[in-house]
């Protein structure tokens, strides 16, 4: 008997269109897409400069649906989230968001993300890397349900000085009282939208969360209202500039998750990342607490620092030297900041550099000028993050730009 081929359901290959894809395609003149967690995400739609300046001067839309999202619900939800993250989540009130990191048993950072407290017994976690198995390990033995809602919730970042005015134009009553890291529910064009005053730009801005079925409707309403507010759709590259100015770290660029490193010493502790302010050692046991307690008493092996470099050439991937001779670290993110008019970067420096030794540091910048390469040693100095600070980010009610 001849074998008969059985029809096999086709697995989707390539990048998946997200909930806003139809609109993104219309705006993506560059047809420049990157892979973000399997979704087609725009890197630049028009020109990165226009998109960047829209973040700082108008308002912008960026599709954040590919973010990994999980809900943690049940009687032990607070205990589980408190066990997961290093901050004391008992202090987070319903309707509030907190930026958090979580660590493995050695005190190395697994990932960072935002924790939304939706009610006494309901949390939502937004992060870059898939965390389901990690969450299930942390929650084992507790009375909670953990659900991956990545594909159930569409997310849109509305960022920029005119973002508040735009939402007010849409008639969102009470949006003026929403404080930074606050959450509230609204309706836009008949669709339920949860809005949090959060973002990755360090500017005034909001993140809108909705049912994917309502995604295009909400998008259209925002674009409509944004006509007179300079609303612009942006891609990853412009956001990357804003996030460096804002002092935010990016996993896989500035640090690696301890779950993905092959070389054990590539993982990083909160103390090395300068995130010790997120570690509440005085709360009851949480993952990695004992290791972190020991680490808190030691000098970090290395430190991720913010530096400012002389002159104007960004120090992408540059090595850092002490007294121009001894190699002591390297740059992870670098940018000529158009708003701050400063040449800024994050760099890893091996101890004691960046800690007890902070002077006479140099970065080695390679410049290509019409095919010919030049090497330049530029002096740099340690500075405080964030590079970009503006009172409009936190003003409540925000100004009507």
């Amino acid at each position: 008997m001849a074998a008969k081929a059985k029809p096999v359901p086709q697995v989707a290959l390539g990048l998946e269109p997200g909930p806003f894809h139809d609109r993104l395609v219309e705006h993506n003149r560059q047809q420049s897409w990157v892979n973000w967690m399997g979704y087609a995400s725009p890197s630049v739609l028009d020109t990165v400069e226009f998109e960047y300046f829209a973040i700082r001067n108008q308002s912008t839309l960026f599709d954040i649906s590919p973010m990994c999202k999980y809900t943690i619900t049940g009687p032990d939800a607070e205990a589980v989230v408190n066990r997961l993250v290093t901050r004391d989540i008992r202090k987070l009130k319903p309707g509030r968001v907190a930026y958090c990191i979580w660590c493995d048993e050695d005190g190395n950072v697994v990932d960072d993300g935002t924790v939304f407290r939706l009610s006494g017994t309901e949390f939502r976690l937004c992060c870059q890397e898939p965390q389901l198995s990690w969450l299930e390990d942390i929650a084992w033995g507790f009375d909670v349900a953990i659900t991956d809602v990545t594909r159930d919730i569409a997310g849109l970042a509305l960022q920029g000085p005119t973002s508040f005015a735009l939402l007010k134009d849409l008639g969102l009553a009470g949006i003026e009282t929403l404080k930074p890291f606050g959450i509230a529910d609204f309706r836009i064009d008949g669709a339920d939208v949860t809005i949090s005053r959060t973002g990755f730009t360090g500017d005034l801005g909001y993140e809108l969360w909705m049912n994917p079925a309502d995604a295009l409707k909400v998008w259209d309403a925002l674009m409509d209202a944004g006509k007179l507010r300079g609303l612009r759709v942006i891609g990853y590259e412009a956001l990357e500039m804003a996030r460096i100015e804002a002092g935010f770290l990016l996993p896989k660029v500035d640090f690696l998750s301890s779950q993905t490193v092959l070389r054990a010493d590539r993982a990083n502790t909160p103390y090395e990342l300068g995130l010790e302010w997120l570690v509440a050692l005085d709360k009851p046991h949480f993952n990695g607490r004992r290791a972190l307690l020991d680490l808190s008493k030691q000098t970090p092996r290395r430190k991720l620092v913010a530096i400012e470099i002389e002159r104007d050439k960004p120090a992408h991937n540059a090595l850092v030297y002490h007294k121009k001779t001894r190699e002591v670290g390297q740059v992870t993110s670098a940018l000529w900041s158009p708003t701050c008019k400063r040449n800024i970067a994050y760099a890893w420096l091996e101890a004691p550099f960046g800690q007890s030794v902070t002077d006479n540091l140099w970065v080695e910048i390679y410049l290509q000028k019409e095919i010919r390469w030049q090497r330049r040693m530029a002096r740099c100095q340690l500075v405080q993050k964030p590079f970009f600070v503006h009172p409009r980010r936190t003003a409540t009610p925000p100004a009507d730009y």
Binding site: D104, E105, D137, W140, P284, H285, R290
Partner: protein
Amino acid sequence: MSGRYDAIIIGAGHNGLVAAALLARKGRKVLVLEARDHVGGMLGDADFRVAPLPYALRPEIIRQLGLPPQLMGTSRPVETISFNPDGAPVTVLGGRASGVDADMAPAYATLHARLGRQAKALGVMMLQSPPGLGKASFSEMAGLARMALKMRLLGKTEMRDLLRIILSNAWDLLNDEIGDGPLAGCLAMDATLGGAMGPRSPGTVLTLLYRMASQSSHGHGLRVMPEGGPDALVKALRECVTDAGGVIRTGAPVAKILVDQDKAAGVRLQSGEEIAAATVLSNASPKITLMNLLGVEHLDGEFVRRSRNMATIGMVSRLDFDIAQMPSLGSGGEIEHGQRLVFAPTMQAIETAFNAAKYGNLPERPVFEATYDATAKRFCVTAQFTPHDLKGGWTDDAKEKLASSVMAALEEALPGLTSAVTTRRVMSPVDIETGYGASGGHWHHGELRVDQLLMLRPFDGAAQYRMPVKGLYLCGAGAHPGGDISGAPGFNAARAALRNGGH
């Protein structure tokens, strides 16, 4: 809180008693809490003992605790009878086998002596705290170095041979050296007893060496009944604790280990009574200690995952047959008091019995060892492989089926036994789990396999007796060096607690 002690020991199994005795003799105020109404754990229930053959108590422990030397067994042990369906049984005592082919007896003697030397080299680690992975102390590394030196001192040929066989299986080794049959079956039974592995499973040479590492004045690897039986051993250990000022409370099940500021603070009994102590040693299995008594909220997620994943599926059932009159062996001769009968005619028979259990079924023909207690007129059978996770659960029918299959096999060796049996009792792995704080009903509180031994016992990150919560120690068979009635985990754990000064 009622009372104040330096150390509380949860569980009065032999390891708990050894730990309590050592701590009490070092001047610590100790309290032993036992859930059952008698001490001795798996040894202690005179009516139906989980472990009727308490060989292997380490001589060093007997000396250090000043226990009566008769516990090592003063009279020479009786030969083990390995049932042979095709003729006269094979009898074995140490390196001497009779009833086998003339050329096999010397081959067996050579193998037994060689395994004994190799086991002795490994045995150096038995009373050592295994080194921590990554951050071992000098004394821990010194223990490992001593073992390496002992192995090297075996000579080049023998060390090479040890390294060749150590991770392999008993099946290959025994087939190479003595061929399959009742003698190989008897040794393979030693290699697999209590574990979820057949003779063909990798690592069964290692478990055989573990058995071979037991020491007595009559030689290594023997099952030596203490003078006076298990009761004498339990009584001696109990008196050792109380003579040194230790307090033992029976019928006092512990509900929770109390933790304050990340340190052990004592225990709460099921009655609600709380007793304070800065040091708590648990003789319960690691899973029960960590998940039930301590609570996962005190542990990191990865630690809990490793603890959950520890292999602890018990495979042993215990059956007792009270008999009016012990029949003679079918092949002629009588069974003596304390004599051990092994019913594993070939390694293949053990492997076949294991095959059924792998898939959650009872074997048609279980393999087992049995001892005859002439005083109680009782035949005590230790049968495998009877999985804890038996399909359909451990119902009365399942127990009846097991008892019948054991009886049928025994009838072949001892014709007329069936009619001589007055009563029979069956204890499944589930009964062992609920009765003795051993998760999975596992004899050794966890498989003795290469990924759960030494610095990986009970699991990575928990191998130095002390648990992440300061002042809490594991002192049962789940800790290094593992199961059997050796007393070594309790002894090592007490020394670890003394070293750390009880925090």
